[in-house]
Protein backbone atom coordinates (compact mmCIF):
# COMPACT_ATOMS: atom_id res chain seq x y z
CA UNK A 1 0.00 0.00 0.00
CA UNK A 2 2.76 2.44 0.99
CA UNK A 3 4.76 1.47 -2.07
CA UNK A 4 1.77 2.24 -4.27
CA UNK A 5 1.38 5.54 -2.46
CA UNK A 6 5.03 6.29 -3.19
CA UNK A 7 4.59 5.65 -6.90
CA UNK A 8 1.44 7.75 -6.99
CA UNK A 9 3.14 10.56 -5.08
CA UNK A 10 6.07 10.68 -7.47
CA UNK A 11 3.81 10.58 -10.48
CA UNK A 12 1.61 13.35 -9.07
CA UNK A 13 4.44 15.54 -7.81
CA UNK A 14 6.01 15.99 -11.21
CA UNK A 15 3.04 17.71 -12.92
CA UNK A 16 2.36 19.55 -9.66
CA UNK A 17 5.90 20.91 -9.76
CA UNK A 18 5.41 21.99 -13.37
CA UNK A 19 2.17 23.75 -12.47
CA UNK A 20 3.74 25.49 -9.48
CA UNK A 21 6.58 26.78 -11.65
CA UNK A 22 4.08 28.29 -14.06
CA UNK A 23 1.91 29.85 -11.35
CA UNK A 24 4.88 31.40 -9.57
CA UNK A 25 6.59 32.31 -12.86
CA UNK A 26 9.77 30.58 -11.76
CA UNK A 27 12.72 30.37 -14.20
CA UNK A 28 12.00 26.67 -14.68
CA UNK A 29 8.65 27.52 -16.27
CA UNK A 30 10.45 28.89 -19.29
CA UNK A 31 12.20 25.61 -19.97
CA UNK A 32 11.18 23.52 -22.91
CA UNK A 33 9.59 20.10 -22.21
CA UNK A 34 13.10 18.63 -22.64
CA UNK A 35 14.36 20.78 -19.79
CA UNK A 36 16.41 23.02 -22.09
CA UNK A 37 16.56 26.79 -21.62
CA UNK A 38 16.08 29.25 -24.48
CA UNK A 39 19.17 30.93 -25.90
CA UNK A 40 19.66 33.27 -28.85
CA UNK A 41 16.49 32.50 -30.78
CA UNK A 42 15.97 34.48 -34.00
CA UNK A 43 19.34 36.15 -33.50
CA UNK A 44 21.46 34.60 -36.24
CA UNK A 45 24.67 33.02 -34.97
CA UNK A 46 24.20 34.36 -31.45
CA UNK A 47 23.04 31.04 -30.00
CA UNK A 48 25.60 28.94 -28.13
CA UNK A 49 28.02 26.66 -29.93
CA UNK A 50 28.69 23.20 -28.68
CA UNK A 51 30.07 19.94 -29.94
CA UNK A 52 28.85 16.49 -29.03
CA UNK A 53 32.45 15.46 -28.39
CA UNK A 54 35.35 17.74 -29.29
CA UNK A 55 35.50 18.16 -33.06
CA UNK A 56 37.71 21.14 -33.96
CA UNK A 57 38.03 21.21 -37.76
CA UNK A 58 39.76 24.03 -39.56
CA UNK A 59 37.47 26.61 -41.17
CA UNK A 60 36.24 25.41 -44.56
CA UNK A 61 36.53 27.54 -47.70
CA UNK A 62 33.01 27.76 -49.18
CA UNK A 63 34.47 28.56 -52.62
CA UNK A 64 36.40 25.30 -52.75
CA UNK A 65 33.95 23.23 -50.74
CA UNK A 66 31.78 20.54 -52.39
CA UNK A 67 28.95 18.31 -51.19
CA UNK A 68 28.79 14.76 -52.56
CA UNK A 69 25.50 12.86 -52.75
CA UNK A 70 25.97 9.17 -53.44
CA UNK A 71 24.98 5.68 -52.32
CA UNK A 72 21.61 4.23 -53.34
CA UNK A 73 21.03 6.84 -56.04
CA UNK A 74 20.89 6.67 -59.82
CA UNK A 75 22.82 9.95 -60.19
CA UNK A 76 25.81 10.81 -58.01
CA UNK A 77 25.86 14.54 -57.36
CA UNK A 78 28.70 16.89 -56.59
CA UNK A 79 27.27 20.24 -55.55
CA UNK A 80 29.09 23.48 -54.90
CA UNK A 81 28.16 25.81 -52.10
CA UNK A 82 26.64 28.40 -54.41
CA UNK A 83 24.34 25.75 -55.90
CA UNK A 84 23.09 24.77 -52.45
CA UNK A 85 22.58 28.39 -51.40
CA UNK A 86 20.67 29.11 -54.61
CA UNK A 87 17.82 26.86 -53.51
CA UNK A 88 16.95 29.53 -50.91
CA UNK A 89 14.52 27.28 -49.05
CA UNK A 90 13.54 28.27 -45.53
CA UNK A 91 12.62 26.24 -42.49
CA UNK A 92 11.78 27.42 -38.98
CA UNK A 93 13.05 24.80 -36.56
CA UNK A 94 14.27 24.47 -32.98
CA UNK A 95 17.74 23.24 -32.21
CA UNK A 96 17.51 21.53 -28.81
CA UNK A 97 20.97 20.69 -27.52
CA UNK A 98 21.44 17.93 -24.95
CA UNK A 99 23.77 20.39 -23.28
CA UNK A 100 20.76 22.26 -21.93
CA UNK A 101 19.79 25.03 -24.35
CA UNK A 102 17.40 25.38 -27.25
CA UNK A 103 17.27 27.98 -29.99
CA UNK A 104 14.64 28.56 -32.64
CA UNK A 105 15.80 29.98 -35.95
CA UNK A 106 14.61 30.59 -39.46
CA UNK A 107 17.15 28.48 -41.27
CA UNK A 108 17.89 29.04 -44.95
CA UNK A 109 19.45 26.62 -47.42
CA UNK A 110 18.25 23.64 -49.44
CA UNK A 111 15.48 21.19 -48.68
CA UNK A 112 17.07 17.77 -48.75
CA UNK A 113 14.10 16.31 -50.57
CA UNK A 114 14.80 18.58 -53.55
CA UNK A 115 18.41 17.45 -53.64
CA UNK A 116 17.44 13.80 -53.39
CA UNK A 117 15.06 14.29 -56.32
CA UNK A 118 18.00 15.40 -58.44
CA UNK A 119 19.95 12.32 -57.34
CA UNK A 120 17.08 9.96 -58.26
CA UNK A 121 16.98 7.88 -55.11
CA UNK A 122 16.61 4.16 -55.80
CA UNK A 123 13.43 2.35 -54.80
CA UNK A 124 15.08 0.30 -52.03
CA UNK A 125 16.61 3.31 -50.29
CA UNK A 126 15.47 3.69 -46.67
CA UNK A 127 18.04 5.86 -44.85
CA UNK A 128 20.06 8.98 -45.48
CA UNK A 129 23.39 9.42 -43.73
CA UNK A 130 24.86 12.90 -43.22
CA UNK A 131 28.64 12.88 -42.95
CA UNK A 132 30.87 15.65 -41.68
CA UNK A 133 34.42 16.44 -42.83
CA UNK A 134 35.52 15.11 -39.43
CA UNK A 135 33.87 11.73 -40.00
CA UNK A 136 31.07 12.50 -37.54
CA UNK A 137 27.80 11.21 -39.01
CA UNK A 138 24.17 10.61 -38.26
CA UNK A 139 21.38 9.13 -40.35
CA UNK A 140 17.67 9.77 -40.69
CA UNK A 141 14.89 7.72 -42.23
CA UNK A 142 14.38 8.70 -45.87
CA UNK A 143 11.02 10.41 -45.39
CA UNK A 144 12.27 12.42 -42.42
CA UNK A 145 15.48 13.34 -44.22
CA UNK A 146 13.52 14.63 -47.20
CA UNK A 147 11.75 17.12 -44.91
CA UNK A 148 15.01 18.34 -43.36
CA UNK A 149 17.20 21.19 -44.57
CA UNK A 150 20.84 21.77 -45.45
CA UNK A 151 21.41 25.17 -43.86
CA UNK A 152 23.73 27.88 -45.18
CA UNK A 153 22.21 30.64 -43.07
CA UNK A 154 20.82 31.14 -39.58
CA UNK A 155 18.29 33.90 -40.12
CA UNK A 156 19.91 36.50 -42.36
CA UNK A 157 23.43 35.62 -41.27
CA UNK A 158 25.76 33.24 -43.03
CA UNK A 159 26.35 30.27 -40.80
CA UNK A 160 29.49 30.76 -38.71
CA UNK A 161 32.29 28.20 -38.62
CA UNK A 162 31.45 27.15 -35.06
CA UNK A 163 27.86 26.52 -36.12
CA UNK A 164 28.94 24.24 -38.94
CA UNK A 165 29.70 26.46 -41.95
CA UNK A 166 29.48 26.16 -44.81
CA UNK A 167 26.69 23.64 -44.37
CA UNK A 168 24.92 21.93 -41.49
CA UNK A 169 21.92 19.65 -41.16
CA UNK A 170 18.69 21.06 -39.73
CA UNK A 171 16.50 18.16 -38.56
CA UNK A 172 13.27 19.26 -36.85
CA UNK A 173 12.35 17.19 -33.81
CA UNK A 174 15.87 15.83 -33.40
CA UNK A 175 18.31 16.71 -30.62
CA UNK A 176 21.24 19.00 -31.38
CA UNK A 177 23.90 16.32 -31.67
CA UNK A 178 21.97 14.87 -34.63
CA UNK A 179 22.24 18.14 -36.57
CA UNK A 180 25.53 17.27 -38.25
CA UNK A 181 27.92 20.18 -38.83
CA UNK A 182 30.49 20.79 -41.54
CA UNK A 183 28.70 18.51 -43.97
CA UNK A 184 30.77 17.03 -46.77
CA UNK A 185 28.76 14.06 -47.96
CA UNK A 186 25.24 12.64 -48.05
CA UNK A 187 24.98 8.90 -48.45
CA UNK A 188 21.66 7.31 -49.31
CA UNK A 189 21.46 3.84 -47.77
CA UNK A 190 19.33 0.74 -47.92
CA UNK A 191 20.25 -0.36 -44.38
CA UNK A 192 20.67 1.43 -41.04
CA UNK A 193 24.15 2.66 -40.15
CA UNK A 194 24.99 1.27 -36.71
CA UNK A 195 28.58 2.39 -37.08
CA UNK A 196 27.49 5.98 -36.54
CA UNK A 197 27.15 5.23 -32.83
CA UNK A 198 30.92 4.78 -32.77
CA UNK A 199 31.66 7.56 -35.25
CA UNK A 200 30.04 10.26 -33.13
CA UNK A 201 32.42 9.39 -30.28
CA UNK A 202 35.61 9.03 -32.31
CA UNK A 203 35.37 11.79 -34.92
CA UNK A 204 37.44 14.10 -32.73
CA UNK A 205 40.37 11.71 -33.14
CA UNK A 206 40.52 12.02 -36.91
CA UNK A 207 43.00 14.45 -38.45
CA UNK A 208 40.16 16.69 -39.60
CA UNK A 209 38.53 16.46 -36.19
CA UNK A 210 41.77 17.56 -34.55
CA UNK A 211 42.11 20.55 -36.83
CA UNK A 212 44.78 19.20 -39.12
CA UNK A 213 44.75 20.06 -42.84
Amino acid sequence: MRFSALLAAGAALWPAQQGLERVLALPGARRRFTGSREAGSYAGNAFPTSSWVADQPLPLDPIAWQLTVDGAVATVLTLRYAEIAAFADELEATLDCTGGFYSTQRWRGARIGRILERAHVLSDAQWVSFISVTGYRWSLPLAEASAALLATHAGDELLSHDHGAPLRLVAPGRRGFEWVKWLARIEVRTTPDFGELVAIHTSWLTPAGRGQP
Binding site: L6, L7, F33, T34, G35, G173
Partner: protein, 124 residues
Protein backbone atom coordinates in the same frame (compact mmCIF):
# COMPACT_ATOMS: atom_id res chain seq x y z
CA UNK B 1 30.05 -14.33 9.04
CA UNK B 2 30.67 -14.16 12.83
CA UNK B 3 33.95 -13.98 14.68
CA UNK B 4 34.74 -15.34 18.11
CA UNK B 5 34.73 -12.80 20.89
CA UNK B 6 36.58 -13.12 24.17
CA UNK B 7 34.98 -12.23 27.47
CA UNK B 8 37.57 -9.42 27.80
CA UNK B 9 36.45 -7.99 24.49
CA UNK B 10 32.86 -8.26 25.52
CA UNK B 11 33.50 -6.37 28.75
CA UNK B 12 35.20 -3.54 26.87
CA UNK B 13 32.35 -3.34 24.32
CA UNK B 14 30.50 -0.07 24.22
CA UNK B 15 26.75 -0.29 24.83
CA UNK B 16 25.72 0.02 21.19
CA UNK B 17 27.92 -2.84 20.02
CA UNK B 18 26.76 -6.44 19.92
CA UNK B 19 28.29 -9.85 19.28
CA UNK B 20 26.58 -9.95 15.93
CA UNK B 21 28.32 -9.00 12.68
CA UNK B 22 28.04 -5.29 11.98
CA UNK B 23 25.77 -5.67 8.95
CA UNK B 24 23.39 -7.86 10.93
CA UNK B 25 23.55 -5.43 13.82
CA UNK B 26 22.73 -2.62 11.47
CA UNK B 27 19.68 -4.40 10.16
CA UNK B 28 18.38 -4.64 13.70
CA UNK B 29 19.16 -1.06 14.63
CA UNK B 30 16.46 0.87 16.36
CA UNK B 31 14.11 2.41 13.78
CA UNK B 32 13.77 6.20 13.73
CA UNK B 33 10.87 7.93 15.41
CA UNK B 34 7.80 7.33 13.29
CA UNK B 35 9.22 4.07 11.91
CA UNK B 36 10.26 3.36 8.35
CA UNK B 37 8.07 4.52 5.49
CA UNK B 38 8.89 1.30 3.66
CA UNK B 39 10.62 -1.90 4.80
CA UNK B 40 14.38 -1.31 4.42
CA UNK B 41 14.88 -3.97 1.78
CA UNK B 42 11.99 -2.58 -0.27
CA UNK B 43 13.49 0.90 0.01
CA UNK B 44 16.82 -0.33 -1.30
CA UNK B 45 15.33 -2.25 -4.20
CA UNK B 46 13.05 0.69 -5.00
CA UNK B 47 16.08 2.96 -5.11
CA UNK B 48 17.68 0.60 -7.58
CA UNK B 49 14.51 0.47 -9.66
CA UNK B 50 14.01 4.24 -9.62
CA UNK B 51 17.67 4.72 -10.52
CA UNK B 52 17.31 2.33 -13.43
CA UNK B 53 14.16 4.12 -14.60
CA UNK B 54 15.98 7.46 -14.45
CA UNK B 55 18.95 6.05 -16.36
CA UNK B 56 16.89 4.43 -19.12
CA UNK B 57 14.56 7.40 -19.57
CA UNK B 58 17.56 9.71 -19.54
CA UNK B 59 19.28 7.77 -22.31
CA UNK B 60 16.10 7.73 -24.40
CA UNK B 61 15.67 11.47 -23.85
CA UNK B 62 19.00 12.07 -25.60
CA UNK B 63 17.36 11.09 -28.88
CA UNK B 64 13.93 12.53 -28.14
CA UNK B 65 13.00 16.00 -29.29
CA UNK B 66 9.46 15.79 -30.71
CA UNK B 67 6.68 17.26 -28.60
CA UNK B 68 4.86 13.92 -28.71
CA UNK B 69 7.80 12.36 -26.85
CA UNK B 70 7.03 14.37 -23.69
CA UNK B 71 6.25 11.16 -21.77
CA UNK B 72 9.93 10.20 -21.75
CA UNK B 73 10.78 13.43 -19.95
CA UNK B 74 7.79 13.14 -17.60
CA UNK B 75 8.95 9.67 -16.58
CA UNK B 76 12.48 10.97 -16.07
CA UNK B 77 11.17 13.75 -13.86
CA UNK B 78 8.95 11.41 -11.86
CA UNK B 79 11.86 8.97 -11.38
CA UNK B 80 13.93 11.80 -9.96
CA UNK B 81 11.21 12.63 -7.44
CA UNK B 82 10.88 8.95 -6.48
CA UNK B 83 14.61 8.94 -5.83
CA UNK B 84 14.34 11.94 -3.53
CA UNK B 85 11.51 10.42 -1.51
CA UNK B 86 13.29 7.07 -1.22
CA UNK B 87 16.54 8.81 -0.37
CA UNK B 88 14.83 10.55 2.53
CA UNK B 89 13.66 7.22 3.95
CA UNK B 90 17.05 5.62 3.33
CA UNK B 91 18.95 8.38 5.09
CA UNK B 92 16.61 8.23 8.07
CA UNK B 93 17.71 4.63 8.46
CA UNK B 94 21.43 4.83 7.75
CA UNK B 95 22.49 8.31 8.83
CA UNK B 96 22.94 7.35 12.50
CA UNK B 97 25.37 4.65 11.37
CA UNK B 98 27.12 6.77 8.73
CA UNK B 99 28.03 9.52 11.19
CA UNK B 100 29.51 7.03 13.70
CA UNK B 101 32.77 5.55 12.38
CA UNK B 102 32.65 2.75 14.95
CA UNK B 103 29.63 1.33 13.11
CA UNK B 104 31.20 1.40 9.64
CA UNK B 105 31.79 -1.80 7.75
CA UNK B 106 33.20 -2.57 4.32
CA UNK B 107 29.89 -1.63 2.67
CA UNK B 108 29.63 1.81 4.24
CA UNK B 109 31.82 3.70 1.79
CA UNK B 110 30.10 2.10 -1.17
CA UNK B 111 26.71 2.94 0.27
CA UNK B 112 27.62 6.56 0.91
CA UNK B 113 28.99 6.94 -2.61
CA UNK B 114 25.78 5.46 -4.01
CA UNK B 115 23.65 7.85 -1.98
CA UNK B 116 25.71 10.84 -3.12
CA UNK B 117 25.39 9.76 -6.75
CA UNK B 118 21.62 9.43 -6.42
CA UNK B 119 21.37 12.80 -4.70
CA UNK B 120 23.50 14.42 -7.40
CA UNK B 121 21.45 12.86 -10.18
CA UNK B 122 18.23 13.96 -8.53
CA UNK B 123 19.51 17.51 -8.35
CA UNK B 124 20.20 17.70 -12.07
Amino acid sequence: MTRSVSSADRSRRRPHETDMPTSAANSRAKPPRGGYFLPPRLTDWSLALAGAAALVSGLISLVSGHADQWLVFALHGAAGLWLLILLWDKLRRVLPRVVRPSLWDRHTVLGVVAILMVARASAC
